[in-house]
Symmetry: C2
Subunit: 146 residues, 2 copies
DNA sequence: CTTGCGCCTTAGAACCATTCTAATTTGTTG
DNA sequence: CAACAAATTAGAATGGTTCTAAGGCGCAAG
């Protein structure tokens, strides 16, 4: 059994778990992500997928990616590429993004935690900054820190 | 001396350090950020600024925000918005974003680190996910992890 | 005080990733 | 084969951000 076949079956299983179908488009998109793990954008996935499935559309690539994310097979990651929110708090802090209210809260960080986090970097990686983002909900109404 | 005046002077100083001028627009934008620390978007800043400076343009708000970020007076934070990247690595990991090459690398995380990081959340914050992003440069050529 | 030069601001167009819409195709079930 | 649901498609629409070209303003030199 080839790896691609194996992946296709695992994919079909996961999709079925969510009541979704396996389709050639979904298989190829997933395969592209597994083949080269360089965190491609949707456009890059589109370009790669077209070599195996020339008729696929960009909209479908977006649809497939979203489907894969919903099935917990793929993670969506956002990097910079356009500052969205601004805060004047210059002390070390993380951000908590409340998915229910859309509000963002600063979370103070003890300096030694940042050190600890940075210490996971292998030799050869020189980090200039670290960003920590929590997502979830604030169960009680918490002070806005304004 | 009012707080606003104090901020304006600190701002002027910081701007001067970078060879830039203090302007009414820059002062008002900075003041808006200090007044309500709810991580506003550029559009929100624009709306607030207009009440004090009705003639200001959105482009200027963007310019001012970028200037403030460059002077280390304000931090830009990205959430959802922005070209999304996708990765099929489901194990706990952080991302290292190499600013020179634009490439992204997975950094494996020991599970206890995620616990430690999550433990900084005060009572009332219930995080569903944590994202850790390093930015910097990879000094040696490191394996791409592909 | 006037002139010149460069920094800032401005409006609106351009850009680009993403989402939406409406129509077609595909697959499944009876 | 018929009917219905799910998925794909092309292209238009959306929306935040950046770019462009033109005008305004302040500072320095004369």
């Amino acid at each position: 059994m080839s790896t691609a076949t194996h992946n296709a079956e695992a994919l079909a299983q996961k999709l079925a778990d969510s009541g979704l179908r396996s389709t050639p488009q979904r298989e190829v998109v997933y395969d592209v992500l597994l083949r080269k793990r360089d965190h491609p954008t949707a456009d890059e996935v589109f370009a790669r997928v077209k070599s195996g499935l020339p008729s696929i559309s960009l909209a479908t690539v977006y649809n497939c990616l979203e489907t894969l994310v919903q099935c917990d097979l793929v993670r969506a990651v956002n990097f910079e590429r356009s500052p969205t929110r601004y805060c004047p708090n210059l002390r070390p802090h993380a951000h908590f993004h409340d998915e229910q209210t859309g509000k963002t809260h600063d979370i103070d960080l003890p300096p030694e935690l940042l050190e600890k986090v940075s210490s996971v970097l292998p030799v050869g990686y020189d980090a200039k900054s670290v960003e920590i983002i929590f997502r979830g909900k604030a169960t009680k109404s918490v002070a806005s820190g304004g």
